[in-house]
């Protein structure tokens, strides 16, 4: 045949549609496949300009095919083509750096400010737990073994000598046991943070228990060091990374509370909608919490092993806390939403 099939010869709508449009679909398919493999930068200008036009063309072909043609393979093909194109056009992020900048400038501190009530509750529960743990162990040292999980104490128990305890605070821990302990502590605490958040889904109660327990462990450890005259040194040892890490755990707990209350008391919204709305704020907070945990990990892994003077440790810890507080809560000029 020299010319494309004469229109009289064509019985079926699918054939007509395919003849008229298949070249465009092929080109769109090709562009999308390229986008799926690499980034938008790999496309040349022509393709980039043609993409939205081809996409809309494919959508209209899909509508036509659904209404006029009974060729199932054609509708299936167009559906997957349009879906893939949709996600490449609408699903791809703005520039990555722009998003990161937005997150640090507004998204994160805004979300943290938004959950300030929950954060206060988390702080209160942690302080309560700390006091509880401290008083219990001071009253009866045998409580310590009930409160601490076996692996966590690593010889820091009420029976240890002051010298041994002091050594745990200042040993640089270049390799071996202390290195493992630091890693275990870091992963344990980070996991606690994520866990506190996730448990918020169960109406927040388990989160409250976890925060109290986290405080109890802290208080119990403090009660081991304080009577040996090492209270201040222990505080400095904890503070260098603890201000960041404990803050992160509290924020995670607060995000969990936000979700728990939204699921339990959705207010005028549907329960699922309330959950999504709370999840949006909480998600931003958690993205930040992960960042804070990484900072805490660096402070713990590097800072605490190299800086061995109490006041320097305390100063770094306080400075970090000051930075976080100013960053989160200092009023901004152009954010009027609470």
């Amino acid at each position: 045949m020299s010319t494309p099939v004469e229109s009289d010869d064509i019985y079926f709508n699918t054939t007509r549609l395919r003849l008229a449009r298949e070249a465009d679909w092929d080109r769109l398919d090709h562009i999308i496949s390229q986008l799926e493999k690499k980034s938008a930068k790999s496309l040349d200008d022509d393709d980039l300009l043609a993409l939205p036009v081809l996409y809309r063309g494919a959508l209209s072909s899909l509508s036509v095919a659904r209404e006029t043609s009974l060729d199932r393979s054609l509708t299936r093909y167009l559906e997957q083509l349009c879906t893939r194109a949709y996600f490449q056009i609408y699903g791809v992020k703005v520039s990555g750096w722009r998003q990161v900048a937005n997150f640090f400038a507004e998204g994160w501190p805004g979300a943290v400010r938004n959950i300030w009530r929950e954060t206060l509750v988390a702080l209160l529960l942690t302080v309560l737990g700390t006091l509880l743990g401290y008083l219990l162990v001071r009253g009866d040292p045998s409580w310590f073994f009930d409160l601490m999980p076996g692996g966590m104490a690593q010889g820091r128990d009420p029976a240890a000598s002051a010298q041994a305890l002091s050594q745990t605070l200042y040993d640089p821990g270049k390799e071996g046991f202390l290195g493992i302990f630091a890693t275990a502590l870091f992963t344990h605490n980070s996991q606690t943070a994520l866990f506190a958040f996730a448990l918020g889904f169960a109406f927040g109660l388990p989160t409250a228990m976890l925060l109290i327990y986290n405080g109890v462990m802290l208080g119990a450890l403090f009660a081991v060091f304080a009577p040996k005259g090492l209270g201040a040194s222990f505080a400095a040892w904890i503070m260098i990374h603890g201000t960041t890490e404990l803050f992160a755990i509290m924020l995670a707990g607060a995000a969990g509370f936000r979700i728990g209350t939204a699921v339990a008391f959705p207010g005028p919204l549907a329960r699922l909608d309330a959950a999504v709305q709370a999840g949006r704020t909480a998600g931003l907070v958690m993205l930040g919490v992960v960042t804070m945990l990484l900072v805490a990990g660096i402070l713990e892994g590097v800072g605490r092993q190299t800086i061995l003077v109490d006041w320097q440790r305390a100063a770094i810890g306080s400075a970090m806390l000051f930075c976080w507080l100013t960053y989160f809560y200092l009023p901004r000029r152009h954010t009027h939403d609470r």
Binding site: E22, F87, Y90, V92, G179, I180, F201, V276, A278, G279
Partner: protein, 291 residues
């Protein structure tokens, strides 16, 4: 009456969901089934363990075998590696342009925001942080049932039952949402890539076509037509023989042996007739609907 509603039973069971683009076209996404989701998760889990084991072997090679020197390094690799993989594997892959971990990609799944907007980083972190209570909690409790003494058994089993609620949550809602999906406003859909199959109706040959009466063509609707299309495309001789036999007996036509040609002619005639109906606004979805 405008368009007859499908039987409610069939509608409820499918995983097809309306998804209208800003251009106003319904893309009809198919959700990933619970089995596919679990499969994707298992694949990811296997890859993660493979990575950890590979990292340990490399460390062993660097330290010249499994001496006591290497022990703390192993411990740190497993602690830190497991932590990083457990918390960042899903998050980092799903934040990427594909919106899928390797396991999901292998099974043609993708994470998508339910409202059709962009999938934000915060949503990805939320949906994956919730894995802690969906996966980790039940499994650590399950491990505890083996380890603990008898006096805590009842407590542990109660806790296991409670945490199982989160694990099996996707089975209890129509959209197969995990707890993480609920909070993050996401769902997991199939994004399968397939090529355009050849145009069945364009196949021309010079032979004499079988003629069918209107009565014979009133027998079936769109659903049967498209099933026939699948049979013809697959071209499995056994299936073709059986289908041809069934249709012939329904039309009470003699068996002339050329099963494929017979089915092809019937397909073409039925398709032409139904398409003509479409042009006039008459849609016949299946054989149970009146012609």
């Amino acid at each position: 009456m405008i368009g007859k509603a499908k039987s409610p039973r069939r509608k409820r069971r499918t995983l097809k969901r309306n998804f209208v683009t800003p251009e106003g076209v319904d893309l009809q996404l198919t959700l990933g089934s619970a089995g596919e989701r679990a499969g994707a998760f298992l694949i990811d889990l296997i890859i993660m363990f493979a990575i950890l084991i590979a990292a340990s072997l490399i460390t062993a090679a660097l330290f010249n075998g499994f001496g006591s020197d290497a022990d703390p390094v192993f411990a740190i690799i497993w602690l830190l590696g497991f932590f990083m993989l457990r918390n960042f594997w899903f998050t980092l892959f799903e934040m990427g342009g594909r919106g899928a971990t390797p396991g999901k990609r292998l099974l043609g799944l993708r994470v998508v925001a339910r409202d059709g907007a962009r999938l934000s980083g915060a949503a990805v972190v939320t949906r994956n942080a919730l894995r802690e209570i969906e996966i980790f909690l039940p499994f650590s409790l399950l491990a505890a049932t083996g380890a603990e003494g008898s006096n805590t058994d009842a407590y542990i089993w109660a806790a296991l039952l409670w945490s199982g609620l989160f694990l099996f949550l996707p089975l209890f809602n129509r959209d197969r949402l995990r707890a993480g999906d609920m909070l993050a406003g996401t769902w997991v859909v199939q994004v399968v890539k397939n090529d355009l199959a050849f145009d069945l109706t364009a196949a021309t040959n010079e032979r004499q076509r079988t003629h069918f009466t209107d009565q014979a063509l009133d027998l079936y609707g769109e659903f049967e037509l498209q099933t026939l299309e699948d049979v013809l495309r697959r071209n499995d001789p056994e299936a073709i023989r059986i289908v041809a036999k069934t249709i012939r007996s329904k039309l009470s036509m003699p068996d002339e042996g050329d099963d494929y040609d017979f089915l092809f002619d019937y397909y073409a005639a039925l398709c032409a007739r139904l398409e003509k109906g479409l042009m006039l606004g008459k849609r016949r979805t299946d054989k149970f609907e009146n012609a």
